[in-house]
Subunit: 173 residues, 2 copies
């Protein structure tokens, strides 16, 4: 299957979560076993032999591809969560959103210095969230190998915002 054919399985929903946003819904891809498997296999194959120690993903949708890529790459899985969700000692970072701000946290013992990290999320938009995740990873001494996304909304230029790191996405709009 060519990469572009994945778009057939993404549902586009106008005005969600608010007017003017065209939401790219991946649930129609996830529920199809062969398509989901194919997407996971293409994404994970890119990192075979790259000695990924940890896959880091942010809740909630990021966990879907993050955990299965960690499994496939024989890497550990590290969740980044909203404040108040992780039970042990955390590092936290507050960052700006289009409206207001948000705080993300990571366990301080989630990574060791020098560990090779793949950051995984379902969708790259402006890149604000993943920029925050990358800062948390770097503060713990992790080495970011790449940021990988199922979908990239290219017009929002998230790739530029993450300029320091290589970025890969399977489906581009």
């Amino acid at each position: 299957m060519g990469k572009d054919n994945f778009k057939r399985y993404i549902r586009s929903i106008p005005d969600f979560p608010r007017k003017g946003i065209l939401f790219r819904d991946i649930t129609t891809l996830l529920k199809r076993p062969k398509i989901f498997k194919k997407a996971v296999d293409i994404l994970s194959h890119r990192y075979v032999g790259k000695k990924i120690d940890r896959v880091v993903s942010v809740e909630a949708r990021g966990f879907i591809f993050g955990s299965v890529l960690a499994y496939k790459l024989n890497a550990g899985f590290v969740p980044v969560r909203k404040k108040g969700k992780l039970p042990a000692e955390t590092l936290e970072l507050t960052y700006s959103l289009e409206y207001g701000e948000d705080t993300l946290t990571i366990h301080k013992d989630a990574l060791k210095k020098g560990e090779r990290v793949l950051i995984v999320d379902d969708l790259l938009a402006t890149g604000g969230t993943i920029k925050a995740v990358s800062e948390l990873v770097e503060r713990l001494g992790g080495k970011i190998i790449e940021c990988v996304f199922l979908i990239e909304l290219t017009s929002l230029r998230g790739r530029e915002r993450l300029g320091k790191y290589p970025v890969f996405s399977l489906i581009k709009y």
Copy 2:
């Protein structure tokens, strides 16, 4: 590795998220590649040949084991989410929590009648959330084959609450 040895990799944190609760933290298991892989392999092996069509999991931690089990079993993955998160037409169910209530939603087109469903979550406590998930699955006509958990807190009797369905857990406290 015997099943009991998994407990070595679960961190127990007193008084989280509130006083009197001993929180079982799975992040210390997830970050260890071999242990995470072993847990996934044991859980998924149980359902090989059981013709699972869909794995259904609830956000956020449920997605971690849910997506990788879906991948391993060549099943589709279906997320159940809090109200307002799923973009297309949903079925919703409000259920009681210890304090207050919560509403879960599933896309109406997530399942077809008669599809064989495995419900996956990280932890079985009182079973209230998974009971709500099971009702959503049944309203869409799904056939629940089993509910599977990494951890079961046996004293909270969630297994009894889910009495209609088979329950399997890897680690029991």
